[in-house]
Point group: C2
Chain length 173, copies 2
């Protein structure tokens, strides 16, 4: 009967590991594959605009939030939660003054998008990312996927807007 | 012969009025029809993003600049001047702090798009708008076309960027 004991131990170990992986922040999405398979989604720069924002402080950026067709449709219909397949992209660029614009306006008041900083995505898959509200989080620096460990804190920050399916950005007309 | 004198006077008056209208800044585009026929171009809210900006001062807004297919293609190919048919839209919204975002970030640093202010367009037609660098200018407040007189100053402000075909906004990746 020793082989049964070994087999049971093996199964329990694997189960334990799986549970551990499932709970670890780096894999809070419940899967081991990186969100978006570590690749920038094709054509995301062509997606439609949801809204814009400015972050001061360390970020010091101007940002645009874009949505793929599924996300835009849900936003416009006021549909919550977002359906599987929705992807929301947050692009950001350094916040820089524009001397050219200031001269045209006759006063220092104009800030424009400078160098791109990074691009972040939220991908809706209610099964795959069930443990994080159905959303997988991804970030790309210079087109390269950021390791999942660095994104383990993403979901926690979005919990306060659970009522809007964890999405901060509201659609503007 | 008095009726001929009356008629000639009438014709001269009408001609004079027409000349005056043609020279008035309100019609610097050389045409009497309002740019875009006074209507918001269909589907402009779906156009692709060129860039974003923040204007302080009296404007105090966040803005997104979008382009129709012709404009986006020209931007991406670095084509100057923009071909006829290019339309560039500038959307703007009040610049408002987001308490919700600030709480998530743990500091006051976040500003988002509030109420829409107005939407402006530059429409390329090198024949129709030859006297203003080939661009016609339009603005809509709450969807209503602003009278051409109010836009007579637009072109003058764009002359400093004549080398970029009078367009201030640069495309960001």
């Amino acid at each position: 009967m020793r082989w049964i004991a070994y087999m049971l131990f093996g199964v329990m170990t694997l189960t334990g590991m799986a549970s551990y992986i499932g709970l670890a922040p780096a894999h809070a999405d419940g899967g081991s594959a990186p969100v978006l398979e570590g690749k920038l989604p094709a054509g995301y720069r062509d997606w439609r605009l949801i809204s814009v924002a400015h972050e001061e402080g360390d970020l010091n950026d101007l940002r645009a939030v874009l949505g793929n067709d599924v996300a835009i449709k849900a936003y416009r219909e006021g549909r919550l939660p977002f359906p599987d397949g929705a992807i929301i992209a947050r692009l950001a660029w350094k916040y820089v003054p524009s001397e050219e614009n200031n001269q045209a306006f006759g006063r220092a008041q104009s800030f424009v998008a400078g160098t791109a900083t990074n691009v972040q995505f939220m991908v809706k898959d209610s099964t795959k990312y069930a443990s994080t509200g159905g959303w997988g989080f991804a970030q790309f620096n210079d087109g390269k996927s950021v390791d999942a460990t660095a994104l383990s804190g993403c979901f926690g920050c979005h919990v306060p807007v659970k009522a809007r399916d964890y999405i901060f950005t509201k659609y503007v007309p």
